[in-house]
């Protein structure tokens, strides 16, 4: 199982083995990562699963679609070029070691 590294705003790290096909958001909720809220349940209606993806992995992700791009406009912490919604990132073998950083707040 690919390993995903979640880095909280205060720098704390947690490594989770995530089954291929599971989203970075769903794995966070299952494993007690408090920095991801996922209020809408993963349907691109809220921005509370916002993460900053490590530069080395950005190009390995399929680009965000219009809906995700729109949601990032309302993120509680202003979006950056490496901002993504973790509900839209499905883990693949290629993403082994993926690092996502969580914003200071999600709401």
């Amino acid at each position: 199982m690919p390993r995903v590294i979640y880095v909280s705003h205060d720098g704390g790290q947690k490594e989770i083995d995530v089954p291929v096909g599971t989203t970075v958001m769903a794995a966070a909720l299952k494993n007690g990562i408090d920095g991801i809220v996922a209020e809408c349940g993963g349907v691109c209606m809220c921005s509370t699963c916002h993460v900053f993806v490590d530069e080395n992995f950005i190009s390995k992700l399929p680009p965000a679609d219009d809906t995700e791009e729109a949601v990032l406009e309302i993120a509680a912490i202003e979006r950056q070029p490496n901002s993504r919604l973790s509900c839209q990132i499905k883990v693949t073998a290629d993403l082994e070691g993926l690092i996502v950083r969580m914003p200071e707040k999600q709401r």
Partner: protein
């Protein structure tokens, strides 16, 4: 003496989020989260969408795993009915007889399905959908059903019609009012969804009411409309709205109207008792009216507000309402409260499948509905929340840049 802490009645999103947000606010006192349903808190929206369709399983709709409640010292009690609230003594009484004391009590008791008041409504094969157990029963019936009738052309009814149609069933939707989702959306949106459903083979009948359900050996087999039409149906899904659960509150002597009456802090007449989510009627600044809203946004934001207040921040509730519905592959996104609008303009075109409707009241933007124009929805949320001025002419002009306007500081 130790504090009795906070007791939350209701394990839906509002109840769950209150508990989670209290801990996020570093609240240290005991938290008890108690609900009638036998399940740990789960998301309701997928029940009429992915769960019914089979693309989401039970595990994937849990709000958090069981361990979350232990880790956050939330005493989760499922499968227990609350029989009474005793505000003077500050405790609740369970149907089982035991009592739980509280310092603060949160009523997140939700709503119940409005029942169909016609002959035959109790036959087998007549189903409602609100809870996970109802969704499991519905899925089972869907597996073998041939002809599905949906009574009620609102969000839940139409979502289920789309699911049943996608599963290959013959589906008829019957709506009593002249158009679909008429309580919330403009006629152009209603028509978009009539076309969507009709295009996928769903028969949509508006302006007709069901007078009777007939059955064979106790099982529904057809229904009759007020004009005498008979429609074969071995599965009848009723989605005609809900009624708020107010009995406990009324019995406790607290005011109820169309829901449990609360002030801008979401507090009932008793300062230690709050009501949130589907059951609560609150003053909504965006509508200039007292409203009861049934939505994820309302449940989550009200929970957050109450948690902050209990943690000592005295929050006033002023979150912008937003909603969505998924039917087939189309998502309708709604921001604000369109009720009372006196003018609508469109942005985009129905023919291209990309359309937003902007609702105005006395030239002030009050709501935006969007289909396949997600940026309009999100920017609409920003504009509405900030009270930024937008004219109908600007809204309908696709060359007018909403994004720049939404980034501007609030204009007064």
């Amino acid at each position: 003496m130790t504090s009795a802490g906070t007791v939350i009645i209701g394990t839906g999103l509002a109840g769950f989020q209150t508990a989670a947000s209290l801990r996020a606010e570093s609240y240290q006192e005991p938290i008890t989260l108690i609900g009638e349903e036998p399940h740990i808190p789960y998301q309701r929206p997928p029940l009429s969408k992915g769960f019914a369709l089979g693309t989401q399983d039970r595990d994937s709709i849990e709000l958090r795993p069981q361990k979350f409640y232990q880790d956050h010292k939330i005493n989760l009690i499922t499968g227990q009915r609350v029989a009474a609230i005793q505000p003077v003594e500050r405790h609740i009484q369970l149907a089982s007889g035991s009592r739980i004391p509280y310092d603060k009590l949160i009523l997140a008791v939700g709503a119940s399905n409005r029942l169909l008041p016609i002959p035959g409504a109790k036959l087998d094969g007549v189903l409602y959908l609100r809870s996970l157990d109802e969704a499991i029963a519905l899925k089972e019936c869907l597996a073998t059903a041939k002809n599905v009738a949906v009574i009620g052309g609102g969000f839940v009814g139409l979502e289920l019609a789309a699911v049943a149609s996608s599963l290959g069933k013959s589906v008829t939707v019957i709506e009593a009012l002249p158009r679909l989702m008429s309580r919330v959306v403009a006629p152009i949106i209603s028509q978009y969804f009539v076309d969507l459903h009709s295009g996928r083979g769903v028969k949509v009948i508006c302006g007709a009411s069901v007078t009777e359900i007939a059955g064979v050996s106790g099982k529904a087999s057809s229904l009759a409309l007020n004009d005498g039409t008979q429609i074969d149906a071995d599965l009848i899904l009723v989605g005609i709205g809900v009624v708020p659960n107010v009995d406990l509150t009324r019995d406790a002597g607290l005011p109820v109207s169309n829901g449990i009456a609360v002030n801008e802090h979401l507090q009932t007449q008793d300062e230690n008792i709050f009501a949130i989510g589907d059951c609560a009627e609150h003053p909504c600044s965006f509508a200039n009216a007292r409203l009861r809203l049934e939505s994820v946004q309302n449940a989550a934001d009200q929970a957050q507000c109450v948690a902050a207040t209990i943690a000592g921040k005295e929050e006033i509730y002023r979150a912008l309402p937003w909603f969505w519905t998924d039917q087939f592959d189309i998502k309708l996104q709604m921001a604000g409260i369109s009720h009372g609008h006196d003018r609508i303009v469109t942005r985009g075109h129905r023919e291209t499948g990309k359309l937003s409707v902007f609702y105005f009241k006395q030239n002030r933007l009050i709501a935006v509905d969007s289909i396949n124009r997600p940026l309009d929805h999100m920017l609409g949320r920003k504009l509405l929340a900030a009270g930024t001025a937008l004219t109908p002419e600007q809204a309908t002009d696709e060359n007018f840049d909403l994004k720049t306007l939404a980034q501007k500081p609030k204009s007064t």
